[in-house]
């Protein structure tokens, strides 16, 4: 289970991970034997066209899916092949999710959506504090339907971070937002995770975003076509898309 200790490069490791789906009689390899490692506390981007397998990769890393073969190790624990219950535990304690369509619970106020994290996590961060950090201290008691898309996405970020996870996974977080709002959301994700020392993985088909990442995984047809390391990631304001 344990692999070489202390090397921050090995915080997240994929080894020959495959994920097949049976659709009718045909077998589709959504993820086809990929291997990579990511360091703790970095900002990473998975880039690829739709159908390249990036969402599957995110699901595998997020414990929402298990690989058909191969090994996934996160924070010195193997998560490939563990039980449904343990996967849920893993999601609960290690992972924060930010979705393209926010997935806030419409029945709960902004504050309560963030408080969801307090319900289940062992060491949650204060919900009000998190909402303040994403600039929503005046919107706490609003329901999602009363907020703009950007505001909803900020609630979603606050919720992901309030769980105090090791890893924040973002699936096209700017996909439903205009470019200016998207920019602000991205900066927020990066700044807050950096302050809190979280590892971030953003999945997107939007190439310019990759310029702000430490590591960029280029995906094509279920494989990693290229791993690009940026010595000096750009600031969000410098990126044009």
């Amino acid at each position: 289970m344990k692999i070489s200790k202390g090397d921050p490069m090995d915080f997240i490791t994929f080894e020959n991970v495959e994920r097949e789906y049976n659709i009718g009689d045909t077998v589709i390899k959504a993820v086809d034997g990929i291997s990579f490692s990511l360091s703790k506390g970095t900002f990473n981007v998975v880039l690829g066209q739709s159908g390249a397998g990036k969402t599957t990769l995110l699901n595998l890393l997020g414990g929402m899916d298990s690989p058909t073969s191969g090994k996934i190790v996160v924070n010195e624990k193997e998560i490939s092949g563990i039980s449904e219950f343990d996967l849920t535990e893993y999601r609960r304690t290690q992972i924060g999710f930010v979705f393209q369509f926010y997935n806030l619970v419409p029945n709960l106020t902004a504050l309560e959506n963030v408080q969801l994290a307090e319900e289940i996590c062992p060491e949650p961060l204060d919900a009000r504090e998190m909402l303040k950090r994403v600039g929503l201290e005046n919107r706490m008691d609003n329901f999602p339907s009363q907020m703009s898309g950007g505001e909803q996405q900020r609630v979603s970020i606050a919720r992901a971070l309030a769980k105090n996870p090791q890893i924040v996974l973002c699936d096209e977080p700017t996909g439903a937002l205009d470019s200016e709002t998207g920019r602000r959301v991205l900066r927020l994700i990066r700044d807050v995770s950096r302050d809190l020392g979280k590892t971030v993985i953003v999945v997107t088909h939007n190439a310019p975003i990759s310029e702000m990442a430490h590591t960029v995984l280029h995906m094509r047809d279920g494989k990693i076509a290229k791993v690009q390391l940026n010595e000096h990631p750009k600031d969000v304001e410098e990126i044009v898309w």
Partner: protein, 771 residues
């Protein structure tokens, strides 16, 4: 072409939302099943009995007199509304068959048309030689046409040949005497002979009853009153057809099932209507985008309307027809033969009027509602329809205005509370379903326990004898009874059917019980259970009889004395008797108004073993133990128990369908929220908790609201089920708890199924679907 494609779409849509379609189908089936089923029971009896009354020319009333004169016949025939007047002889006779069964003998003139036997085979000769025998009795005693039978009339044996076998309108449900409650064709039957045959015994033709047929719609109370005036003091009693033994028993059976088939189907239909209509509306609204697509493709408004209306019409019709096929066949075929009625036919009849009504209502709630819902959506433009309907936004709920409470609530409780308030429609739906279920079960259990309680009350509290001995009054007299020494407590009782005129003008024969003041073996109580004793200066009447006639203590009734006129007596006391309504008085009071106390029965509580020698002596005409009477009472109402079992099963099915339906809706409509919880790291059981607590909340609400419903239904049933029984219809805690436990159990099963389904469905698919 257009129709073809749409039709295929209908079929596929139905397959896709099969659980909803199936539940609508089942509910329609259930409602029609129970309605046509219960209806078919009384409808079948009613039709066949009515046919028998018609074909045998059953009289509308009988005037019993010692010996009817021609003037009396003529006088009655002149009363307005009277069509036909005849006379006959009617009496109970002993036979020489094993077990000494009794035959009720009717002697008819050869030209009579009224009260004919309904011949099954053989003939009823006019010449006067032979007799027609009760075919059930013949079968029980293995008698055939051509056999001889001996009956004892006026102390003389008459041997007569059996010419035919028949049924009688007066013996559809006939019992021998007050010691028996259920018909027993081995012990009691009827025999019809010609009056000529009586000449050898009485020396002439004799008669004791005037049969009267009236024209339809005539005022029978008026006829009775005038007939009473015509015969004057000669009258022994006047009996209306509906009050005569068999007819009133048959009617009370009809009434029992009519009551059940009024209350329960209405409840089922109501619940079915509410639930089908809200399910249909939801289904159509979920088809919003499809309606937009169809419109955008250029389908006409009408074909789209029909397409969606047909959904409801098809399931509605299918369910109703299925219920119609099932109900009468299951209910009718099982229950009708259990009623111990001797009818000429048992073929099941269906009350199509009610079926059409139910079908109409169901079609309104399925087809009609989908039509309206679809038409509402049609008013939007296709582009508006294609856009996703904005999700219902969260709202503050009233609980939040109490911050002290709201802040103390657990997070999941807050979520559940908000969700419940947000989806009021679903909550109401499942609450009504459960309410119906609990209501049906409570009332079914209450009917069962009140009916069985009657046996306990009557033969445990009121009557405390071990044995009721019916005396042969020809062989007993006061001296004999005075000298009779039995080892135990005895009580003399005279049971006599006496003509009574009530203050409201109604005249009818009522059972008068005359007994001793001490009354050690009949313990009368008032409605609150306080003992009451027989008054010295008037009579005691049972509560039910008082209510029927609108009487109170202090009111005066008039009682016909033997061979004399009427005497006015005051009602001094009212007592509650569950079974055996009538008038009670002391022997001294009876004698003080000019009658003679002639005990017809002896109630005995033995100190040790029953005195076999006494019981087999010839003064004893018949005897019955209290246990056998109680059994017989229970079995005469036991048929209702069977209906109760059916009703509980149906109530349960209702709960199953509704709970499954709304439970799955609760899950399906929130699948995105639940998926989000899963992603956040909620475990299966935590999510299950969120969904199931909400389901159980509606179950609890439904159960609580089911209590008054059950109470109301019980009360309706108790007050109308049988005019001879005084039922209180109070629901007991035990019955309520049992019903609650049963409902909870059903809910538990349904929630197990839903929990299982929740695990089956790939919850993450729900999140992806939008992207």
């Amino acid at each position: 072409m257009v129709r073809g494609a749409l039709f295929k779409k209908s079929l596929r849509d139905m397959r896709k939302s099969k659980s909803q379609f199936i539940s609508i189908f089942i509910m329609a089936t259930l409602a029609v099943f129970i309605m046509t089923g219960l209806d078919s029971i009384w409808f079948t009896i009613d039709k066949h009995a009515y046919n028998m009354y018609q074909s045998t020319n059953l009289s509308d009333l009988w005037v019993t007199v010692a010996s009817p004169s021609e003037q009396q016949l003529w006088g009655i025939s002149k009363i307005q509304g009277v069509e036909l007047v005849e006379k006959r002889f009617s009496i109970d006779a002993d036979t020489d068959l094993p077990g000494k069964p009794t035959l009720h003998v009717y002697a008819l003139d050869d030209r009579t048309i009224l009260d004919q036997p309904q011949l099954q085979n053989g003939r009823f000769s006019k010449s006067g030689g032979g007799a027609v025998l009760d075919s059930r009795f013949a079968k029980a005693h293995n008698l055939r046409i051509g056999d001889y039978i001996s009956i004892k009339l006026n102390g003389v044996w008459l041997r007569i040949q059996i010419d035919g076998m028949a049924l009688s309108s007066e013996h559809i449900y006939a019992v021998k005497n007050s010691a028996t409650l259920t018909p027993d064709s081995l012990d009691y039957g009827f025999l019809v002979i010609r009056t000529k045959a009586l000449e050898s015994i009485y020396g002439q033709k004799v008669y004791n009853q005037i049969s009267v047929k009236t024209s339809p719609g005539s005022d029978l109370a008026q006829v009775v009153q005038k007939a009473g005036d015509v015969v004057g003091d000669d009258v022994i009693g006047i009996t209306l057809q509906k009050d005569s033994g068999s007819v009133s028993s048959v009617n009370s059976r009809i009434q029992q099932f009519k009551t059940l088939s009024l209350v329960f189907p209405v409840l089922f239909l109501l619940v079915t209507a509410l639930i089908t209509q809200s399910t249909m509306v939801r289904m159509i609204e979920n088809q919003r985008a499809q309606i937009g697509i169809l419109k955008a493709l250029g389908y006409s408004k009408r074909s789209i309307l029909w397409h969606y209306t047909s959904y409801g019409v098809i399931v509605g019709v299918l369910g109703s027809v299925f219920g119609l096929l099932l109900g009468p066949n299951v209910f009718g075929r099982i229950m009708v033969p259990q009623l111990k009625l001797t009818l000429s036919s048992y073929s099941i009849r269906i009350n199509y009027v009610n079926f059409v009504f139910a079908l109409f209502l169901i079609l309104m709630c399925t087809g009609g509602v989908s039509f309206l819902a679809c038409r509402n959506l049609q008013s939007d433009s296709p582009s508006a329809l294609l856009r996703e309907k904005p999700p219902k936004s969260g709202k503050r709920i009233f609980l939040e205005s109490m911050p002290s409470l709201w802040q103390k609530m657990k997070f999941s409780s807050k979520l559940i509370a908000r969700n419940i308030i947000k989806n009021k429609g679903r909550l109401i739906m499942s609450t009504i379903g459960v309410m119906g279920c609990t209501g049906v079960i409570i009332s079914a259990l209450t009917v069962r326990s009140t009916l069985s309680g009657i046996g306990d009350y009557t033969y445990g509290t009121t009557f405390t004898f071990d044995q009721k001995v019916v005396l042969d009054t020809a062989k007993t007299n006061s001296v004999y009874l005075k000298n009779l020494e039995l080892d135990g407590i005895t009580q003399q009782l005279e049971e006599s059917a006496v003509q009574v005129i009530f203050p409201d003008g109604v005249q009818k024969m009522e059972l008068v019980n005359i007994t001793t003041k001490e009354s050690p073996l009949i313990r009368l109580q008032d409605i609150d259970g306080n003992p009451v004793s027989l008054p010295d200066n008037g009579v005691l009447m049972t509560r039910k009889l008082c209510r029927e006639r609108g009487l109170n203590t202090g009111d005066i009734i008039r009682i016909k004395l033997t061979d004399k006129g009427y005497v006015s007596v005051p009602v001094i006391q009212i007592a509650y008797i569950a079974s055996g309504q009538g008038i009670y008085m002391t022997d001294t009071y009876w004698e003080s108004i000019g009658e003679k106390f002639k005990p017809t029965a002896l109630l005995v509580r033995w100190n040790g073993e029953p005195d076999r020698k006494f019981l087999s002596s010839d003064v004893v005409a018949d005897s019955a133990t209290r246990e056998s009477m109680q059994d017989s009472l229970s079995s005469s109402i036991g048929i209702v128990n069977l209906a109760v079992v059916f009703l509980i099963i149906l109530g349960a099915s209702l709960a199953f369908v509704v709970l499954y339906n709304t439970g799955m809706l609760n899950f399906a409509e929130r699948v995105r929220d639940l998926a989000t919880f899963r992603v956040l790291g909620f475990h299966h059981r935590e999510i299950r908790y969120l969904v199931l607590v909400e389901n159980y909340f509606s179950v609890l609400l439904g159960m609580l609201s089911g209590i008054p419903v059950g109470r109301f239904i019980s009360w309706i049933i108790a007050s109308s089920i049988d005019e001879r029984l005084d039922l209180l219809g109070n629901i007991t805690l035990t019955d309520v708890l049992t019903a609650g436990a049963m409902t909870m159990f059903f809910a538990w099963i349904v929630n197990r199924v839903i929990a299982h389904k929740m695990k089956e469905i790939d919850i993450f698919e729900a999140l992806k679907s939008v992207e």
